[in-house]
Amino acid sequence: MRPGSTVALAFADPLVDCSAALTELSARLPGAVVMGCSTAGQILGNRVDPAPLVVSVTVFENARVSSAFAHVQGSDASTAGRAIGHEITGDANGEPIAGVLVFGGGLQVNGSALVEGLSAGLPEGTPVSGGLAGDGPRFERSWVHLNGDTGENCAVAFGVIGEAVDFRHGSQGGWDGFGPRRTITHSDANVLYELDGQPALALYTQYLGDRATEMPSSALLFPLTVSSPDDDRSLVRTILSVDEEQQSMTFAGDVPQGWSARLMWTTTDRLMEGATEAAEEAAQSGIGLAIAISCVGRRLVLGARTDEELDSVVDALGHEAPIVGFYSYGEFSPAHGPCALQNQTMTLTTISERVTR
């Protein structure tokens, strides 16, 4: 096996200790990049696999793989992202980087800042995709792993260097805003305190009714779409945790004060439609690997029919495409403009390599 030609992606159930398995994996695949994270559901093919660890191994014919690991100092995910970007760029040594896949700790890492720093550290236009690690529906502990190193407040990434490799991306939600548009009257980065001068948590409690006790996971059923008052930028934000004492809610991305926010809802069918559209965007021929990162909020809505979302993806990408992935606490995709943190989406990255014999 040519060193640097192989990448193994590993997605693990956070309740199961998989460290030994990961060590074993690295031992079996010397010279390979072994990268992974905890999830809110491991995807393999067209189903959420009940197995605690799902692994894919991809070997590039000509391209090589560069990886990097970074600790996030405090809440400065941007610097960690930029360091990773610089390391991969240095490895590429002038060769084109076809694309970068990044995973961040799902509870501490500010995904917005991470991808912003990462994009800045990479050559302009390098496509970046990925997601934030999950912890089932619990939102307590998540981790990322790279080549033997595992950490919570960390980020890991690999980039594929070579001309013959194509990254394609697709990302869709299937959520719609409803009810009044509210103003974010008090927030601090990704912590939301008040909407229209009222505690945000109270609003969620009211809307969730009986299911308020299941927060924070049940709050994912009503994500927020936040819109800039200055331009038409609009982002979906999903909840990570709640603080009863502070009456605050922490989201997977920034909720800037002064922006407007609106509750969103969806149905099972709308989510399926979204998954199909995302897969159609990412579809290409000769897919060597398809990475599906879907939001934990979708899984909560889909419930028993979660697998049907994956059926839609398989139908759109073709049954030959190897699909692996996970339910996440946030998705990164460059499908619609520069790479940004998404929430409540099905995000697909497909990789193909044109092989010359």
Binding site: P180, R211, T268, L302, A304, R305
Partner: protein, 619 residues
């Protein structure tokens, strides 16, 4: 039946007659498990969706209600405000529909136009606004502005109210974008009346209601224009009341005002409708008569004015008498300025006043020359008083029985570089300019010094006007002057000219004071004054000087001789001395001696001469 299955699924299985124990195929069991789970998920989803739908609906409804109630509130507040402004505006406001009908009108508009609010709603414009002048186009103008949706203004028009009275108004129409507009009507009747009154006041004398000086110039101007156009003459009468001051002083200013008002009425009654009468202030009036043929016309009018003013004035229980002096100036066919005509009449009046009142004088060019001469003389006299051109001459007074010198009359003399100025000329100027007092104070000390050199039995005669005697502090001044000169007051006569004022208490009191200091009083020019005999009775007199008009110039004039005898007898009877003045012929002197006149003076006997020459006569 598996109770774990969703109830709907359980019912569906029961209807289909499928019992769970019949399901041996594990794939069917798996399917039913998935279907049941999907039902459960759908229920949960629906629960949240239903809840969210209701909550969001209710939130939206609340927002809508809040918005609506706040906008309704706002509209109500706005309406209230507008209504309050409308009802309390000081200006009449009429809201018009696009077709010109009345939508609303405020209380001020109702009151001003005499309209009934409810009856007027919906009425057309022409019903509520009726111009006083049927040809006034305001209604048409307003209607056009309304139709074209533009603003319109009319600063001054007169409307008829429903009560039949007139109303001066200023109107402003403001078109509204939505059609129609608001007509603001301001009642300017009072303002216009006030304006008219202001104009009237600016042009009239408030006491008499006659025109005043500023208005007069305009009237003269217009009269002159007509005069030029029709070739007729215009006369300006400058009327001044004689002895008006006495009315004010004796009967009070209110009586004086009453007299002036009556005067105004009397003068106006003489003038024709087209003529003008004005009061310039004080007791000065001016009348303008137009369409005159010649100066005789003007004289006739002036005489009638003088006559009517000469009639007694009945003021409360008193009768007051004044007379009028009138100066007349006429257009003479040449171009003349209004100001000049008035000035000429004033000059003629000055002349008339000089005639002792109640006379009428027509302006002539000679008058202005005289006046200018007088002004020039006054200027030179003021100069002379400080340059020693003035000096005192002494005319001897003789005892007619023995030719002995019994006194000298001190007489002011003025020598200029161009020769002497006649005393009667410059004394008159000094009197007119109020310089007499100053003149006296400069020359009397010189005369008193002369007196000191006179022997006993030769007296000094000093002339003083009543005004000089009335001056404050004159007695004290004499005390000092006598002391300074070392003169003997018992040898000093003060000659006072007989005039109207001489009987004033102030003057007789002063005479008495002077006599108490040893000086004596002589009445000068006896016989030409108004009240000679009563003056003789009232005044503290020591001597009479008989005016030259009483000198008999011919032996054939027996009448004159009889009067002269009588005067001399009068002096003897009253025990006052008599001096005959102005003896110029031997014949006069002879006659005076024959009738026993004790003393005399005149050019025949000796002319006034410098002190040294006068004193030389005594040695």
């Amino acid at each position: 039946m598996n109770d774990d299955y969703h109830r709907t699924l359980q019912r569906q299985m029961a209807r289909s007659g499928i019992a769970e124990d019949q399901l041996t195929d594990p794939r069917i069991a798996d399917l039913l498990g998935r279907v049941s789970a999907a039902y459960e998920d759908a229920d949960k989803q629906r629960y949240l969706h239903d809840r969210a739908f209701l909550l969001a609906s209710s939130e939206m409804q609340n927002l809508y209600d809040r918005l609506q109630s706040s906008s309704q509130n706002e509209a109500a507040v706005q309406r209230d405000r507008l209504k309050a402004i409308f009802d309390t505006a000081a200006t009449g406001l009429i809201v018009l529909e696009p077709d010109g009908r009345v939508f609303d009108l405020n209380p001020v508009a109702e009151a001003a136009l005499g309209l009934d609010h409810d009856a007027m709603l919906g009425e057309p414009l022409s019903t509520i606004l009726t111009p006083a002048d049927p040809d006034d186009p305001v209604i048409d103008e307003l209607r056009a502005a309304l139709e074209q949706g533009r603003h319109w203004r009319n600063a001054d028009t007169v409307l008829m109210t429903k009560h039949g009275s007139t109303l001066s108004v200023s109107m402003l129409f403001r078109a509204m974008r939505t059609g129609g507009g608001v007509l603001a009507i301001e009642d300017i009747t009072e303002r216009k009346q006030a304006q008219a009154e202001l104009i009237w006041r600016a042009n009239h004398d408030s006491l008499t209601g006659l025109l005043n000086r500023p208005a007069l110039t305009d009237r003269i101007n217009r009269a002159l224009q007509r005069s030029r156009r029709y070739g007729s003459q215009v006369a300006v009468f400058f009327i001044d009341l004689d002895r008006f001051k006495r009315v004010n002083d004796t009967l009070g200013h209110a009586a004086g005002d009453t007299l002036l008002v009556e005067c105004a009425r009397r003068i106006s009654s003489i003038m024709r409708e087209v003529d003008t009468t004005a009061r310039l202030g004080g007791d000065e009036f001016v009348a303008i008569a137009e369409n005159l043929t010649d100066s005789d016309d003007a004289y006739r009018i002036a005489k009638r004015i003088a006559d009517t003013i000469g009639q007694p004035f009945s003021i409360e229980s008193d009768l007051a008498y004044v007379e009028a002096s009138i100066g007349i100036a006429m257009t003479d066919g040449h171009g003349v300025e209004p100001g000049q005509l008035l000035r000429d009449a004033d000059i003629a009046l000055y002349e008339a006043k000089g005639h002792n009142g109640s006379s009428v004088v027509l302006y002539t060019e000679a008058m202005i020359r005289r006046m200018q001469h007088g002004v020039d003389m006054e200027r030179r006299l003021r100069h002379a008083m400080y340059t020693d051109q003035l000096w005192v001459a002494y005319q001897p007074i003789f005892s007619l029985s023995d030719g002995r010198i019994v006194g000298f009359e001190a007489l002011a003399r003025w020598n200029t570089d161009n020769g002497p100025v006649a005393p009667e000329e410059f004394i008159a100027v000094a009197e007119g300019a109020g310089l007499l007092e100053e003149l006296g104070k400069r020359l009397i000390p010189e005369a008193l010094a002369f007196q000191k050199q006179l022997p006993t039995g030769v007296d000094l005669f000093i002339n003083m006007s009543p005004g000089q005697i009335a001056a404050d502090g004159i007695v004290e001044w004499f005390d000092e002057a006598l002391l300074e000169a070392g003169a003997d007051p018992r040898q000093v006569f003060i000659e006072v000219t007989e005039t109207d004022a001489i009987s004033d208490h102030a003057i007789t009191g002063r005479m008495q004071q002077l006599r108490e200091r040893g000086m004596r009083i002589a009445l000068d020019d006896f016989g030409v004054g108004h009240s000679s005999l009563s003056a003789l009775r009232a005044l503290p007199l020591d001597l009479m000087k008989v005016d030259r008009s009483f000198l008999v110039s011919s032996r054939d004039d027996t009448r004159a001789e009889a009067i002269a005898r009588m005067v001399i007898d009068l002096g003897r009877l009253l025990n006052v001395g008599v001096i005959a003045e102005g003896i110029e012929t031997e014949e006069q002197l002879q006659l005076l001696r024959e009738i026993g006149c004790p003393m005399g003076q005149g050019f025949l006997l000796a002319a006034p001469e410098p002190a040294a020459e006068a004193l030389a006569r005594l040695t």
